[in-house]
Symmetry: C2
Subunit: 357 residues, 2 copies
């Protein structure tokens, strides 16, 4: 059996943290993987030098995950076509808005038998349609795509603090790589699972991908509650209601998605928790209440102009629900999602967050 | 239809907060309830006066919920037999260790058609047997007993901060009070549900009762994690694993209990969250790590000698699992529960909390 060759497409905070995990595992499973991992780096200057050459010299992503050794077997490569050459295991971890641009034209250069896993947070919405990134990647590249997500703040993972992550794979039975090849589950499990980064496998790619995006709307709700000085009864109620709304939303509109992914797995309940305790959507929402400023203004002040995912996702869900209102059978609709949207975009006072819940 | 007469057996922090809720609701539903509520007060002196007479004068439980008006229709009564006279709706909210003593001999003085609801946190264990308090109350009094539990810190409920609570009722179909009487669900829902205290009803009395007790073991785990300075990935993982362990434990040993009660309801996921964010079990566990002291010493220092429920419950679960080890089919047992027990009672270093998870 030929060894799997790994390429990480993306080199931000999370991409770098996962590169370190993968770099250790390809060595521990040298029967399965080639030792060298390539990491596609969107080239930029840092201290007057190209970031990719600094990474290759210091084995550290000084810009996005400083102070952490990635492993000397991680090779940064600014040319994507070169980076993916011969790669059979592609980890896609670029910001969601760049996926289509980055992967454009890549299909023709893929190695035979290549597979992908998406670590992307976010969904693509177009009125009454929502697409998850594993599906988009699968279409763009013409290959199978799994999903990985969980309560995984990159800096904590980089310190080997104990955590869990959920791997969503397609149903077995269609092995495009010959009957002796590894299953998707085995491939990605061996590449990611560590003593302090525990992988649990579920047969639910879209569930994993959706959780990681929709949780940010709940985190905004939790942040509004914090900003208003409400106590932990209220915050816990908002989180519980939020879990149920995104679970019901996804199960309703994505019939293959499983409730358990939301209620029982790290990508669901645990990631939602982390985001509601310490995420940046929570923080900005808290500050919206305390300062009276809109999220756009706080994005500039606190995030250097980076856009916050929660409001964007709330807007996508709102537009989706408007377009498909006739299909919503849940008796009370999705009041928490709609209230978060109204607070972000319609000037509704945050105190009204609990209205209609 | 004769009106229901309410008696609250217990007058601590939570008993007083729920008295205030019930006092408002009996007025709002005067077609169902008599206006006067009695509250059994275990008599004690406060500022040289009997507590029950201060409550009746000021309509405030100055000792256990000071600064909060309970309502002038709450009548404190130190004689339990007088308190329950004519009462058809008994709210039992005494500390679990006193239930059997307090209710001894009460059966003979009950009004016809009386029903109970248990707000008690805790379980009674005897080696290989665990009993929930709704079951114990039902046996002691010979009447039906429901359960109420949720993310309900008393002081926040007393301020009308938005929260939810779960009402567990027995299956319908056996109406002991005549076919025209209210169902258990309708009786307790009308007595407890408020715009800021939202009741959801489930057909799972034991599930509600068990969540409220077993959550404290998870809260200890979360507190150890906090004390060790571990981040929110780890804490979220511990909470997720904890939810799954107590769910699996209860579903396995109490076959009528429903998974959803743990995964979807306020008494489950939301109450666990609150306890892991701000409960006193969490706090003492954090301090155990930071000071190196045992929980017994911290109970004296921080809780004025009151005993903490988490360690006690961990011990009960440990003894139970020892006694019924042959029946445990879960492949890895219950490592979080066992590790918490070992840290509390066996001197295991808290760093080992994640071992075997």
């Amino acid at each position: 059996m030929a060894k799997e060759k790994v390429c990480i497409i993306g080199s931000g905070n999370w991409g770098s943290a996962i590169a370190r995990i993968a770099a250790m595992n390809v060595k521990d499973h040298s029967d399965i993987f080639e030792e060298e991992i390539t990491m596609f780096v969107h080239e930029e200057e840092f201290d007057g030098k190209p970031l990719s050459s600094i990474i290759n010299e210091k084995h550290e992503n000084v810009k996005y995950l400083s102070g952490v050794q990635l492993g000397s077997n991680v090779k940064a490569e600014p040319d994507l076509i070169k980076a993916i050459k011969g790669a059979t295991a592609l980890i896609v971890v670029v910001p969601h808005q760049f996926v289509e641009k980055v992967l454009d034209g890549v299909k023709d250069h893929l190695a035979p038998g290549a597979r992908a896993v998406s670590l992307i947070k976010g969904v693509k919405a177009d009125g009454g349609k929502i697409y998850t990134y594993p599906g988009i990647i699968s279409s763009l590249l013409g290959i199978r795509c799994s999903a990985l997500g969980g309560a995984n703040i990159a800096t904590e993972v980089a310190k080997d603090q104990f955590c869990e992550s959920t791997l969503g794979v397609l149903p077995e039975g269609t092995k495009p790589h010959g009957k002796d090849s590894l299953s998707d589950a085995d491939l990605w499990y061996n590449l990611f699972n560590r003593p302090t980064f525990r992988i649990r496998v579920v047969s639910d790619v879209d569930g994993v991908a959706l959780c990681g995006s929709l949780k940010n709307v709940i985190a905004l709700g939790a942040g509004f509650s914090d900003g208003l000085g409400w106590g932990s009864n209220t915050k816990s109620a908002i989180i519980r209601i939020g879990i149920m709304e995104i679970k019901d939303f996804c199960v309703h509109f994505f019939p293959k998605v499983k409730s358990e992914t939301f209620l029982e797995e790290s990508c669901g309940v645990a990631d939602i928790l982390t985001s509601c305790i310490s995420g940046r959507n929570r923080k900005v929402a808290e500050d919206m209440v305390k300062t009276g400023k809109g999220f756009q203004e706080l994005e500039k002040e606190e995030l250097g102009g980076q856009s916050l995912q929660g409001p964007q996702t709330a807007e996508q869900l709102h537009n989706f629900l408007e377009a498909r209102r006739d299909e919503v059978s849940r008796s009370d609709g999705f009041p928490l999602i709609e209230n978060v949207w109204k607070i972000c975009y319609e000037g509704m006072p945050p105190e009204k967050l609990i209205e209609g819940l």
